[in-house]
């Protein structure tokens, strides 16, 4: 183990050394991208577009924009520019040392992905190479309540700067048409509601006498009950979804389904309740049927807000863009497919004020590609995160020059 992670660390160092001089090149995170086809994920594509970045934020975007003198111009003529991709469900950094499931505590809302996050693994760099700049990464699906995920950029100066949201949203999991899963979750919700009410009473009163004793488990569920945070639930079967929707109807929490294999069979029920779905990773070695793949398009047509995900390591983090390509193959409109890996996960994760589209005021997370953004043969050329050049293919180390 030591040797392998040693070499990973080595890789990371190479990467840092490479990027340092490049940052300087982009003169203080301010520059202009000129000449590309720009897909903003907030409107129709802009031909021969310009994106101006100032201090790591998007200052202007459009087709007929004057670039102020003194601003460094990055010529990307003939290229395509899209927003940095966002993966709404991943286990990058959490699964690496087997830290993804605390099986001994099936109800563990107090578990926090941040406490298990490994920053030294190569996958963060691979994610950047694939144009993925923000991910929601968190606990696995081995428990009914796995814990709290974290919303984080794949690149940045330090951990604090990279974290968009150390959220208290809850990851839950319903597995395969089971009789006990929903009652287990329901009784926890009931207890949490009592706990919340006890604290509300104390806070609203004169606060005489000792406060109620703290319970980390139930405390973690209060923001969800208050509607400040959401539940994301791993779920595959249509009947399980109906069962979980009953739970939502009872407690009124904000909900997103994860994987959602059979969501298309109950699309109307989901759409009616304004529940979002993250659909099964498409580019997977699991033999996903065409019915399911076309089903995603039916969900879109029913008006359900949809995100795609990799569930890394199920599908490698860097392949998020390929998932979108496959979704287009199976009928999703191109512009909407781009939204499923940018704007939609940003809205679901409540980070759309910062990321998810190329709009003025947002973080300059930008991906430059050498062709049509969703084709498997297209490569990522440059990735900017907060206006910093996090990857440049011109400096890519192929590794092929190594010894035999």
């Amino acid at each position: 183990m030591n040797t392998s992670y040693g070499s990973m660390l080595g890789l990371l160092l190479v990467f840092v050394m490479q990027s340092a001089p490049l940052c300087a090149q982009d003169s203080g995170n301010s520059f202009a991208l000129r000449g590309a086809r720009v897909h903003t994920a907030a409107g129709p594509p802009i031909e021969n577009g310009t994106v101006i970045v100032e201090n790591g934020k998007i200052a202007a975007v459009g087709s007929a924009i004057r670039i102020p003198s003194g601003v460094q111009v990055v010529d990307v003529e003939g290229k395509t520019v899209i927003p940095g991709l966002i993966d709404e469900h991943s286990h990058l950094g959490t699964y690496d040392f087997g830290d993804v499931n605390e099986f001994t505590e099936p109800i563990g809302p107090e578990h926090r992905a941040l406490d298990a996050l490994h920053m030294e693994v190569r996958d963060w760099y691979e994610a950047v190479k694939g144009g993925v700049t923000t991910i929601v990464t968190g606990p696995g699906s081995g428990e009914r309540m796995g814990g709290q995920s974290i919303t984080i950029k794949t690149f940045g100066e330090n951990l604090e700067q990279r974290i968009l949201k150390e959220s208290r949203e809850l990851k839950m999991a319903i597995n395969a048409r089971n009789m006990s899963h929903i009652p287990t979750i329901r009784s926890t919700f009931l207890k949490a509601r009592e706990y919340m009410e006890k604290w509300d009473e104390y806070e609203a009163g004169d606060k005489e006498g000792p406060p109620p004793s703290r319970d980390l488990r139930l405390e973690a569920m209060v923001p969800v009950l208050r509607g400040e945070e959401k539940v994301r639930c791993h779920i595959h079967y249509a009947n399980d979804m109906i069962a979980f929707l009953r739970l939502k109807d009872e407690f009124g929490f904000d909900l997103t389904f994860i994987h959602s294999s059979e969501a298309y069979k109950v699309a109307d029920e989901i759409a009616r309740r304004d529940v979002a779905v993250i659909v099964l990773p498409l580019a997977t070695r699991i033999g996903v049927t065409d019915d399911l793949l076309f089903g995603n398009t039916q969900l879109y047509e029913a008006g359900v807000r949809m995100s795609l995900h990799t569930d890394h390591p199920v599908v490698h983090q860097k392949l998020l863009r390929l998932n979108a390509g496959l979704a287009i193959r199976y009928g999703l409109p191109e512009d909407y497919a781009l939204r499923t890996v940018t704007m939609n996960p940003a809205i679901s994760s409540r980070i759309d004020d910062r990321v998810g589209s190329i709009e003025v005021g947002k973080d300059a997370d930008l991906v430059v590609l050498d062709g049509t953004w969703y084709e498997p043969s297209t490569r990522v050329d440059i990735v900017f995160v907060d206006g910093v050049r996090a990857f440049d293919r011109a400096n890519e180390r192929s590794g092929l020059e190594e010894e035999n």
Binding site: L11, A283, R285, I286, G287, P313, H316, L326, P376, N404
Partner: protein, 437 residues
């Protein structure tokens, strides 16, 4: 797209009927079909614009821009479309239940045959009479697959080349046995019985091959005596495993050895040289590191899908050493060095999530590899003619050339674009899939 609508309906009906009735000869295969007007990627060196592929009695009769089409031919209009040979998935575990892939009784079972466990009749106790097509697989244009035993034994057994459709089971088999499947690496190790190390694996392999050599010697001696009319000639006792390995040692079939690490590749080459058999590498994550040796010795590689390289013992990123070995330029580096490369799905059925369907995205996998330096031509070859040559069935399939089986697909766009779909699939001249039907 089909001009002769009435005929199409008629022959589609025949095709469907043949699924139901298990006919050994159908009307379609005796017919003449002309696929006209498309861009024909023959995979035999040339791309023909607005060309015709003429199919007669299940075989390709003619390919060219100026083919005379008989008046009684059924016309398939492929104007604006692409026509190419059926996709070949050079490595799969299709049709075999996952727990039947490996024989726990012994680390080496050369007598086992994948074809014995292969089940082409659709879902158990569902469907109708006869061969049931996996529609997902065929809809991706896959017309032929290699089916292999699993990779948890040093010698798993004998693999087979089968088509994805046929009038009956036996007619689907193109070549069997097609190779002996072996593994050198982590998964071939056993917990507490020999072999537990790579030294053990190599020694075991050598012992078995040595015994097979002795057996072969005795057989040859017997055959010589018999040919000379010696009444005393007695054959050695029958041994199905050694008989299979004799085919290997006499170059009748090759060994397919699954290897990823450079040292395992070297061991495979060393043992192949010692015993003088033909070698194909499977998976070969680290093959680019030894590309010149592979090119020099004419050793081909069947790579896993570039998006999900097949990994011994699990997905790639779960094993840090293999992960660091992985290089997306593998296919391009090997091809450019002159190594014959195929891309296989290494796919298998996966319980309730779905059947053995991964191969339907082989063109997408090939397209992905072009992003990492593989030429379009080499990418297409990797799932057609290269695969056919590596599997030893290029006399029958892999390219659109007169005399070969009429395994033809028509696509509605450039084969390496993600939005392109296979419109029509023909196997042995039989229309087995039409998009939307």
């Amino acid at each position: 797209m089909i001009r002769n609508t009435m005929k199409t309906i008629e022959y589609s009906a025949v095709a469907v009927l043949s699924f139901l009735c298990l006919t050994t000869e159908s009307a379609w295969s005796q017919q003449i079909t002309a696929i006209q007007g498309g861009t024909v990627l023959t995979m035999a060196g040339e791309t023909l614009e607005r060309a015709t592929v003429l199919v007669r009695d299940g075989k390709i009769a003619e390919v060219g821009a100026n083919v005379r089409v008989p008046g009684n031919a059924t016309i398939v209009d492929a104007t604006g479309k692409y026509v190419m040979p059926g996709i070949i998935d050079a490595m799969t575990y299709y049709g075999i239940r996952p727990f039947e892939l490996n024989d726990p009784s012994s680390p080496a079972t050369p007598q086992n045959r994948a074809i014995q466990a292969y089940y082409p009749y659709g879902d158990f106790m569902r469907g109708t009479t006869g061969i049931s097509v996996d529609k997902n697989l065929i809809s991706g244009g896959v017309t032929t697959v290699y089916i292999a035993p699993g990779d948890r034994q040093v010698i798993g057994g004998q693999g087979a080349v089968v088509k994805t459709w046929g009038p009956d089971f036996n007619s689907m088999i193109v070549r069997e046995p097609a190779a002996i499947d072996m593994t050198i690496g982590e998964t071939a190790k056993r917990e507490d019985q020999n072999p537990t190390t790579r030294m053990g694996i190599a020694a075991l392999l050598r012992r078995i091959l040595l015994e097979a050599q002795e057996f072969s010697g005795k057989m040859e001696e017997y055959e010589t005596k018999q040919a000379e009319g010696d009444p005393e000639a007695t054959p050695p006792g029958r041994d199905l495993g050694k008989e299979a390995l004799r085919r290997l040692l006499s170059h009748e079939i090759p060994a397919r050895i699954e290897v990823d690490y450079l040292d395992d590749i070297r061991t495979a080459i060393r043992i192949a040289e010692e015993f003088g058999f033909d070698l194909i590498l499977d998976s070969g994550l680290g093959a680019y590191k030894i590309k010149d040796v592979l090119a020099e010795n004419g050793i081909p590689v069947v790579l896993g899908p570039p998006t999900h390289p097949f990994i011994i013992g699990g997905e790639v990123s779960m094993n840090a050493d293999l992960y660091n070995l992985m290089n997306e330029y593998n296919a391009a580096e090997l091809s450019d060095a002159g190594v014959k490369v195929a891309i296989g799905s290494f796919g298998f059925g996966f319980g309730s999530f779905g059947g053995a369907t991964q191969g339907r995205w082989l063109l997408i996998e090939a397209a992905y590899a072009t992003g990492y330096g593989l030429s379009d031509e080499d990418a297409l070859r990797a799932v057609t003619i290269n695969a056919a040559e590596i599997l030893g069935v290029d006399d029958r399939i892999g390219s659109l050339e007169p005399g070969k089986d009429a395994d033809v697909i028509v696509l509605d766009g450039y084969p390496l674009n993600i939005k392109t779909w296979v419109d029509l699939v023909m196997i042995d001249g039989e229309l087995v899939h039409e998009r939307g039907n």
